[in-house]
């Protein structure tokens, strides 16, 4: 079976029509991972027993002629920040180096209930903190399109696995762009849904008001299929929205003619690479050619997004990561003098440099004397950023923008300059702060053959609209 460009429907049909078996398909992926992943580094752990168990379940359904679920036998990978019962989950951190979760993340359970086969856990920046995957405590990920470059982050393994055909699709998480930015760097589709659309239960928390789970796929249709499967109210996450889940797949083919597409001038200003700009402009022309009305919009507070984001995100992270204390799970330092000495030395040994930096920044922003000037200020600016989108969406159905200011950069290029690394997220953090959905789709290449991505933003819970625009773009000649 040729795994190149294999989509969810093609994989499921091949199993249903007995061109292959779910077991043979899973084994083909494991063989591909074993041969190709040593030079890419996308996987941290393989869950062979679990995958082959699920595959044989699907195969016996095929044998009995039973009706197959929508993801029957489809091999998927899961970012290592989502817990998987009995399968080591580290969040890319040494502090969770030997953690074997006793329960499953809801999104993962839903995929398996729909017949998916979970191949393993994907590499990422430690606790999803990073934009290049170089903050993984275990190993860097190399971009399959150019091995000297980063795959983006923090869901670098999730994007690289899809780009290198080492999974049909994957789950990632997105707190400030961590699905969309690596999707852009690796030339795949990445969708961050509306906040509350997908349960966060079982997602190891980074910044709870900004964290999202979403798919990375080869096609927009595959993103719609995965979203339809994982979306919906979950009693285990009180922030999951109690709203019906539309059939995103059925709505893909509705016409886009007459849709109003906003172009935000603030996203096309200084700092945007010329090749990225021309690819985005060409993509906008293509949408116009499909009958969309292109309208200029303004999101005037955009330049304040990065500072607001890095205060809110780190403040929440400093609180969430307080749980890693060496008592109930994770690394514990040896030969300690006292309980507080144990906390400190366990955390000191277990966390990497970027995680410590963010805990420090967040703790500083929340500390007495600085709370109003930093954390509260950032929350007020967050309101302004959310209002920017609300005002713009009074006049348009969707907004397009570059996903990143540049194509994938080289490994090591920004590793010593945290601020430069943070600025790589300049076009993606806004959607997290406002909680609106955003999808990144490939829209061309640089002269060096590096993928370029374009984002499409929608109103809260308007995933159908942005998927429809993305699908129309992708399938247009």
């Amino acid at each position: 079976m040729n795994l190149n460009n294999l989509t969810i429907d093609a994989a499921r049909s091949a199993v249903a029509e007995r061109k292959t078996s779910a077991t043979a398909l899973a084994e083909a992926y494991f063989a591909k991972i074993e041969s190709d992943d040593p030079q890419i580094g996308a996987y941290l752990a393989l869950s062979k027993e679990r995958a082959l168990g699920k595959a044989s379940e699907i195969d016996s359904m095929v044998k009995k002629g039973e009706e197959l679920p929508p993801l029957a036998g489809v091999p998927l990978g899961i970012k290592d920040v989502m817990v998987t019962k009995g399968v080591r989950t580290t969040a890319g951190s040494k502090i969770l180096g030997n953690y074997v979760p006793p329960y499953d993340c809801t999104a993962v359970s839903k995929l398996e209930a729909a017949g998916a086969v979970v191949l393993g856990k994907l590499n990422c920046d430690e606790f999803a903190m990073g934009s290049s995957n170089e903050n993984s405590a275990w190993k860097p990920v190399h971009n399959p399109r150019d091995l000297s470059r980063v795959p983006g982050g923090s869901s670098g393994g999730s994007a690289a696995a899809v780009a290198a055909d080492m999974a049909v699709a994957t789950l990632g998480s997105d707190t400030g762009g961590s699905i969309r930015q690596p999707a852009s760097f690796c030339g795949v589709v990445g969708l961050k849904p509306t906040y509350g659309r997908v349960s966060r239960y079982g997602l190891i928390a980074f910044a709870s008001s900004l964290d999202h789970i979403g798919p990375l796929t080869k096609t927009v249709k595959d993103a719609a299929i995965v979203l339809r499967t994982i979306a919906g109210r979950d009693p285990m996450d009180s922030t999951s929205a109690d709203l019906p889940v539309p059939d995103y797949v059925a709505e893909l083919d509705r016409p886009v003619k007459g849709l109003k597409i906003g172009v935000a001038t603030e996203y096309l200003g200084e700092g945007l690479d010329a090749e990225v700009r021309s690819a985005i402009e060409a993509a906008i022309q293509k949408l116009a050619g499909l009958g969309c009305d292109i309208v200029e919009v303004s999101l005037p507070h955009t330049s304040y997004a990065i500072p607001a984001y890095y205060l809110v995100a780190t403040a929440e992270a400093s609180s969430n990561l307080a749980r890693f204390d060496g008592v109930r799970y994770g690394h514990r330092a040896e030969k300690v003098r006292s309980l507080s000495d144990m906390y400190r030395r366990s955390r000191d040994q277990g966390f990497g440099a970027e995680v410590k930096r963010r805990i420090m920044l967040g703790t500083y922003a929340l500390s007495a004397g600085y709370y109003d000037a930093y954390y509260l200020k950032a929350q007020r600016v967050r309101t302004l950023l959310a209002r920017d989108f609300e005002n713009a969406f009074k006049n348009v159905d969707a907004i397009v923008a570059p996903t990143c200011p540049t194509a994938a950069f080289k490994l090591g290029e920004k590793v010593d300059d945290p601020l430069a690394m943070y600025l790589a997220d300049i076009y993606t953090v806004t959607a997290n702060l406002a909680g609106i959905p955003g999808i990144s789709i490939p829209v061309g290449h640089t002269k060096e053959k590096l993928p370029i991505g374009m984002q499409i933003f929608g109103k809260h819970f308007a995933e159908s609209t942005i998927l429809r625009v993305a699908h129309a773009y992708e399938t247009a000649a």
Binding site: N98, Y99, V100, P102, Y103, G196, S209, T239, A241, D242, L243, H301, Y304, P307, Y310, L311, S318, A322, D325, G326, V327, R328, Y329, V336, R337, S338, L339, S340, D341, M342, Y343, R344, R347, D348, F351, A353, K356, R357, I359, M360, L361, Y364, S367, A373, L376, K377, A378, Q379, R380, V381, T383, L384, A386, E390, P418, L419, A434, G435, H460, F461
Partner: protein, 112 residues
């Protein structure tokens, strides 16, 4: 320089981190660089802007309701039976660095 070595030591203490001397001096440099960028926020007048703590503040699922009533679906009736089972004892302790089979074990809590 906004953040000094003394500030870093104080904040590390609040965060239960024990940074080495090298880490501390790098942290002074990095926090000053990041906070220098963050200071652009002070140019905005936000006196009349309410803070936004979470996204669902913005879309309020049921606009006819106010405040926590909008999120009533997130709570349940108070019940005494039929609650979701907790993890069994042995499973909850399975990842513990140290336990006696009933409890998590930690070093001496009371310090001299």
């Amino acid at each position: 320089m906004k953040v000094t070595d003394k500030d870093v030591t104080y904040v590390a203490d609040l965060a239960n981190l024990e940074l080495s001397e090298d880490e501390r001096s790098r942290m002074v440099r990095d926090l000053n660089s990041i906070l220098g960028h963050v200071d652009s926020l002070s140019a905005l007048d936000t006196a009349d802007v309410p803070p936004m703590a979470q996204v669902s503040d913005r879309y309020g699922l049921d606009d006819s309701k106010q405040g926590s009533a909008r999120f009533a679906y997130a709570s349940r009736e108070d019940i005494h039976e039929g609650l979701r089972k907790s993890l069994p004892h042995d499973v909850a302790l399975a990842n513990a660095p140290d336990s006696d089979g009933k409890f998590f074990k930690v070093p001496k809590v009371i310090e001299k």
